[in-house]
Symmetry: C2
Subunit: 448 residues, 2 copies
Amino acid sequence: MEHFEQLNQCLQAGNLAELRQMLAEMNEVDIADFLQELDKEHTLLVFRLLPKDLSADVFSYMEADRQQLIVEGISDKEVQRVIDDLYMDDVVDFLEEVPANVVKRVLRTVDADTRQTILEYLKYPKDSAASLMTPEFAELHEDMTVKDALEHIRQTATEKETLDVIYVIDRTHHLSGFTTLYRLITTEGDAKVSACTDRGVLSVGTMDDKEQVAKTFARYDLSAMPVVDHENRLVGLITADDIMDVIQEENTEDMEIMAAITPSEKPYLKTGVFELAKHRVLWLLILMVSATVTGRIIGYYNGLLQSAVVLASFIPMLMDTGGNCGSQASVMVIRGLALGEVGMGDILRVLWKELRVGLLVGGILSLVNFGRILLFEHVGVMVAVTVSLSLYVTVIVAKCIGCSLPILARRCGFDPAVMASPFITTMVDAISLVMFFGIASNLLHLAA
Amino acid sequence: MEHFEQLNQCLQAGNLAELRQMLAEMNEVDIADFLQELDKEHTLLVFRLLPKDLSADVFSYMEADRQQLIVEGISDKEVQRVIDDLYMDDVVDFLEEVPANVVKRVLRTVDADTRQTILEYLKYPKDSAASLMTPEFAELHEDMTVKDALEHIRQTATEKETLDVIYVIDRTHHLSGFTTLYRLITTEGDAKVSACTDRGVLSVGTMDDKEQVAKTFARYDLSAMPVVDHENRLVGLITADDIMDVIQEENTEDMEIMAAITPSEKPYLKTGVFELAKHRVLWLLILMVSATVTGRIIGYYNGLLQSAVVLASFIPMLMDTGGNCGSQASVMVIRGLALGEVGMGDILRVLWKELRVGLLVGGILSLVNFGRILLFEHVGVMVAVTVSLSLYVTVIVAKCIGCSLPILARRCGFDPAVMASPFITTMVDAISLVMFFGIASNLLHLAA
């Protein structure tokens, strides 16, 4: 950010009035980024310079370690103001990351009502719909008149609340539908709220999985979604910006699993070396030991290799191409499953598709390979036939394994993303070598 | 969907009144899914049963081939009504997918103003911010009074418009900020709109790249974003639901590139076998030919292999583990770059991190491997040392290559996602074998 240099100059020169002026014109996300790069003392100094109505917003975009530093450095009164100005989901996100003494400090400073709400929210599991919701939303009783409803909003709503969608509840506090501010201001004042209420409202339960919530959100193009408890009483609201974060987290998680990494929510540069190593070594060990099976196969055919050692030089090409073909199919299917484009019942349709793709792609690759060997390698025609035929079969098998394992994994209740490149490659390696040596011993009349 | 069976029963029984009743209570996305599964005649029949205010919504969620079928089957008047009720971005998405005769038909039926707008929108490139925007938004002049502004909205706004954010323009039609309906109804009627206008409004240009727009959207947690032309005049609005689609498309694209697939926007099951093959075969060919380098290396060391053919059985384990280690590092960095968590200037920081992770992970893997070989394989200690040492070096090199190539690719203006598993694996294979044979010829005193 070119801004940051100017800000830093002001800070170094002690030109705080100008700094304050510049900060007031910046976006809260950018200010949070700037604070993130300062040392402890300057972080506190700059945070205190922020206009009152900005400081909570900036706070919500900072990382937990910086948030803790700020809470530890400001007065009780300031803590109280910041917490009051935060959305409840941001308060809870923060409290979940910091040590117990900071949590205690925060709970001590806020008023009894807020404390009660915070404690309630802290009880929800991390992956639940409730962990994404805020209690800052507008609700109207369906038998209010529109005029009263508008007056109610005018008097009670705060800047914090989402008013894109206003939920309507019945006398028993159950969610009965939604309306919008636009509808209210374009409806006759004497009409009941129920007259401009849309009953087709999608809601989620507090304990629903947040990934499922994100899917529903995306499928129905929503901008907000109400959360209800087990008795269909409205308890919170989830907004689109939180859902975007869930979608990105989920995609990161999928990509990490697909690369044989135990997923973590921390950004890469913030993760320590030991933690990174820990998240990677387990799968590497499993895959390394699995790969020895492939080694055993080569070991078993040592006699054959000894009498035709030239075959060894085709092993990497066979293994790599097989692995790549399998990965392509598995990634397409894993992604299709994640987006809901492919279902568990589609396994035969998918297999049939991939079988034909394999026949086509395998044909092209084998032909090119056959030509290349004849032209550039000093080996006999039969070796070229052996390698190309093995390649053909490998490609087809790889496509079929690659496309079906993710669906089977989902059926067995596992994450399909596990069945990506590393796992598929290890499997296809073994199979391709067995076929390669099998075809070689038959076509070249060699004994294992 | 369990619903669909009931709907189908009504349809088969000709019980159209009940069917209409059921449809009226369903969500438009689900109805679109249902229509998608019917044959041509029934699609038209059911579409015509839909309540008027639902049919355009349902239409917008259907695939282009079905949309075409409907437009070809309904009257000019019906076409006009559907198009009028659609958001402009949905109209344009549809027209971009269908043959010219359908486009002509649509343009002929709509009124002159709409035609003008459609033609303008069709000119924007597919990846531009403008391709996501709709002209259905509310704008206010900053020197209107709040009372007049509310009256203006009441009279001119339609159900279609987004009123979460209302953009404010100055006398020269330039975007000067935004306000909200909430602010308007809680401000004194005599005050000017400019008094409740927030000037810190982020906007994008019509020709900006849509991926960049999605990043800004996610970074600043926006729910809507104004689009301005090159003279900063407000021309359209982008909403969060369209951005979610862009984010998912972009993630799919990244995953496909990472699996050596030429990306496409079509869902997997809708893509034909030839198209799938076409998107996969190019990269496979490139990688296959690259893998022959690795084969050449083995060929070069044939003499060495002949005198110690047992070494061949460790090749798959070495290659796979090296590939997996490299992929892990590259995926973490590719994702970090995509999310903006890793910058191009971070290359040394990333290398230093991965070097240490490599030392750690490589150490663990080599030790386990050393123990496994001694315990389970009937080979000498020096072979175990050779293999484990090669593994150690391979892991470290793989981590360093895997993490730095994506950043270098970005620096050179390429998509970092290209530097994922398939490409890294092919490179690491060659390097690991050179080191393996180098170490073997030194430690085991074998001649190449």
